[in-house]
């Protein structure tokens, strides 16, 4: 018998569950659209994003400029595409920082317990005590505003989130009898972590990633809105909203479009997360 034999029934039923799960399907569709928009923006936008054409300023949506233009005559649809790239980029890096540092910390704390565990928990308490925006303000104060610093600020906040989620789930696993059996089988803590603990917390980490991804998009938009995130001329959804606010009375669509983009992205990721939770864990009550 092969060590990696996978029961075909299991995997097929997981795909079948996914295809029947409405939130998973809607969430996946929105997320893929977002991804496609971001990728397309690298090779094609209807107009150059930074192109200022004062003559075309503040046009409402029309056949040439599908979503209209802003106060500088820039094409909103083009800015939206590039903004998607920007949001995704910041979110991917911020979540990667969280997973890359948080998950190993959580696994180690659960395996070793004792001092390491206490330090981790107190440390995460400390990070949680700093409102994420305050962290961002401090980082900006040191390094100046920019997308990279937004990634770091959001990423720092993600580290304890992933560490705690991983630790909690891993600790529960360490109390289970199959881990005890692996210890009786003489496996080291590191090996048990790799063979038993990590695979069993993986689905939880994936689900948490979609949630943190959604939060990161919200946070990036907030930071850009107050001018701490992505800097002009690079367009970002938050900055577009900040610019639109002054034009509310004459060009309300400027504020509607980027806002809807944010809501759709976050909603899509959250739906995807809810769906994945059910798809990856058949034991969970679907109706909850």
């Amino acid at each position: 018998m092969s060590e990696t034999a996978i029961d075909g029934v299991n995997r097929r039923s997981m795909v079948a569950r996914a295809l029947r799960h409405p939130s998973f399907l809607i969430g996946a569709a929105i997320t893929l659209t977002l991804l496609a928009a971001a990728l397309v923006s690298f090779v094609w936008t209807p107009f150059p994003v930074a192109e200022v054409v004062i003559r075309d300023r503040l046009q409402p949506p029309n056949p040439v400029h599908w979503l209209g233009t802003d106060a500088f005559g820039r094409d909103i649809f083009s800015m939206l595409l590039v903004g998607a790239r920007n949001s995704l980029g910041v979110a991917v890096v911020a979540v990667a920082i969280g997973i890359g540092i948080g998950v190993p910390l959580g696994l180690a704390a659960a395996a070793e317990g004792g001092l390491l565990d206490s330090i981790l928990m107190r440390g995460s308490d400390l990070v949680f005590a700093f409102p994420a925006l305050v962290t961002a303000v401090m980082i900006t104060a040191i390094f100046g505003p920019g997308a990279i610093n937004a990634m770091i600020a959001i990423g720092i906040f993600n580290v304890p989130v992933f560490a705690r989620v991983t630790r909690g789930a891993a600790r529960a696993l360490w109390g289970r009898e199959f881990v005890l059996a692996a210890r009786v089988a003489g496996k080291t803590r590191a090996r048990i972590t790799v063979e038993h603990v990590l695979p069993n917390v993986a689905s939880l980490i994936i689900v948490q990633s979609t949630i943190q991804f959604a939060l990161a998009i919200l946070a990036e938009a907030g930071l850009s809105y107050v001018g701490l995130g992505t800097q002009p001329p690079m367009p970002s959804w938050g900055k577009m909203l900040a610019d639109a606010q002054t034009m509310m009375a004459i060009a309300p669509w400027l504020a509607i479009v980027p806002g809807l983009a944010i809501v759709a992205s976050v909603l899509g990721l959250n739906l995807l997360g809810d769906g994945l939770r059910d798809v990856l864990d058949p034991r969970l009550d679907r109706t909850r």
Binding site: M1, E3, F178, L180, A181, V184, A185, K187, N200
Partner: protein, 540 residues
């Protein structure tokens, strides 16, 4: 007229049939037992009577209480019947009470709902109830919270709630399954007393034949949602008519095949000497003294090659902690554990690795002891990595198939996942994993406690067969005296972290020297003893 008359009750939840044509009557003041294995529909019958079934349940037939059809009552009318006419006692006393409200409050609520009493009268009634269930004598007042009480005390509170409004029918669903054997005897006696004193009928639902044989006037046997036999205890157990009753009796009284005791000069495998273990407790006051809970207090046990040693005690006695220490999973605070003469806790990691193939383990929970993502083959083969390069892929495969074969599983099962097996089969998988390295000793911690009685008999016989075939020594840990008696040569009796008595199993069980051992033996339900007592009563 019957107090409770269940007529042709059928129940399904979703597409799943649960009960099929169940008819049962209970007369005023009588005690009716319902027995059966898990999934036979016992509990669902009780919940049907209370109309507290889960969502999606569909029922047919009728349930009459005092002539009144409960199936057609409105939900509002049922609220006046629950607690007032029927009291219910559940299996899980640890979770059956609201943790954030006092026990007095929870009992008073049941009184107020049904009896038109003023505040002072309610308080007086609560005090009476606490006295009635024996809590007042234990110093438990109404202002206590559930977490401050033991399991037995909580079950007394649940009984107080059930009888708060003088119901004429009490339904007790496995009321003692989660309790220690000595507490179990007290709670059963209390239920019998309370029902007799209040003139209430008692429906006692249990998997334990000895309990109903002792308590019930009439017993219904359930299997797969049907009542297969109904009779008075003596008739039922002395002259069973249905195959299911015979099967249950056989499983309860079955003894595994005999294994000759090892020679007296068999070498010692494991010697645990004066093992001590304590956990720090939070301080009671800020600058109060440090406190600790002693889990093991200078415990010494030993097992010889080929011997089966038993370790028996109630929950919290330290049995499992001792098992983990002997398995070198937890380091003791004091004392030593030697295996074939060398100290396990003085070994280097690689020395310990060379000893591990010799000591393996089987745990209690047939659901929790496998990684759900691994195939049975991978699970069973897990300890083989200890053999290192001596175990090439071919040899590995041969060993796994061999171990599966030993426990009665097929080679094809290796590619399946644990959730595709039933509880009894899973315990076979756990045993296959334990013998795959051909160990000298298997530590089995409550290996059959989670299983139905018929599966228990099979697993115990399997262990006996493996001892014969492999000259396996066993350290068998259990709270169940009859099981320990059936499978061990020698026994240690453990009470709150200490060994209070030890010796040859037969000697200890027939002539217990320590008061605690005697108490355990007296409290343990025994089918034969219950029947003998009934026969003596009828002869008189």
């Amino acid at each position: 007229m019957a107090l409770l008359d269940i007529d042709r009750l059928s129940l399904s939840i979703g597409a799943q049939p649960i009960l099929d044509d169940v008819s049962l009557t209970v007369r005023a003041g009588e005690t009716v037992g319902i027995v059966g294995e898990s999934g036979s529909g016992k509990s669902m019958t009780a919940l049907s009577v209370m109309r507290l079934l889960p969502a999606g349940a569909r029922t047919s037939g009728s349930i009459r209480l005092d002539g009144e059809d409960l199936m057609t009552r409105s939900e509002r009318a049922m609220c006046g019947i629950r607690g007032r006419k029927i009291g219910l006692v559940f299996q899980e006393p640890m979770t059956a009470l609201n943790p954030v409200r006092t026990v007095g409050d929870q009992i008073a609520e049941a009184v107020r709902l049904h009896l038109p009493l003023g505040r002072a009268a309610v308080d007086a009634r609560v005090a009476t109830l606490l006295k009635r269930v024996g809590l007042a004598d234990q110093g438990v007042g109404p202002d206590r919270y559930p977490h401050q009480l033991s399991g037995g005390q909580r079950q007394r509170v649940v009984i107080a709630i059930a009888i708060a409004a003088d119901p004429k029918l009490l339904i007790a669903d496995e009321p003692t399954t989660a309790l220690d054997v000595t507490v179990q005897a007290q709670i059963l006696a209390l239920l019998r007393d309370v029902a007799a004193a209040e003139g209430a009928a008692l429906v006692l639902i249990t998997h334990d034949l000895a309990v109903v044989a002792d308590m019930a006037d009439r017993i219904a046997v359930m299997k797969d949602g049907r009542i297969v036999e109904e009779a008075a205890p003596l008739a039922l157990f002395r002259a069973p008519k249905s195959a299911e009753t015979r099967r249950l009796i056989a499983a309860t009284t079955a003894t595994p095949r005999p294994v000759p005791a090892p020679k007296a000069d068999a070498p010692l495998l494991v010697e645990a000497e004066r093992v001590a273990r304590a956990y720090p407790l939070p301080r009671a006051r800020l600058f109060g003294p440090r406190r600790e809970a002693r889990v093991l207090d200078a415990v010494s046990v030993s097992v010889r090659a080929g011997e089966s040693a038993g370790l028996v005690g109630e929950s919290g006695s330290g049995k499992s902690t001792l098992a983990r220490t002997i398995l070198a999973l937890d380091r003791p605070d004091g004392g030593t554990v030697r295996f074939r003469g060398s100290d396990l806790f003085a070994m280097t990691a690689s020395e310990l690795r060379s000893v591990r193939p010799e000591i393996q383990a089987v745990f209690q929970d047939p659901y929790g002891s496998f990684d759900p993502r691994h195939t049975v083959g991978r699970i069973v083969g897990e300890p083989l990595h200890l053999l290192g390069s001596a175990c090439a892929p071919d040899e590995r495969r041969r060993r796994i198939v061999d171990a599966l074969d030993h426990v009665g599983l097929a080679e094809a099962d290796a590619a399946r996942y644990p959730h595709q097996f039933s509880g009894g089969q899973r315990q076979r998988i756990a045993i296959a994993r334990a013998i795959v390295t051909r160990p000298a000793l298997v530590v089995a911690d409550e290996p059959v406690s989670a299983l139905d009685v018929s599966l228990q008999a099979q697993v115990l016989d399997l262990l006996a067969r493996l001892r014969l075939e492999m000259n396996l020594a066993l350290l068998f840990i259990s709270h169940d005296l009859s099981v320990v008696r059936a499978v061990t040569d020698r026994v240690y009796v453990m009470q709150s972290g200490s060994i209070v008595e030890s010796g040859a199993t037969n000697a200890v069980f027939s002539r217990p020297a320590h008061a605690y051992t005697r108490a355990l033996l007296d409290a343990a339900p025994s089918l034969e003893r219950a029947l003998t007592r009934r026969e003596a009563a009828t002869v008189d």
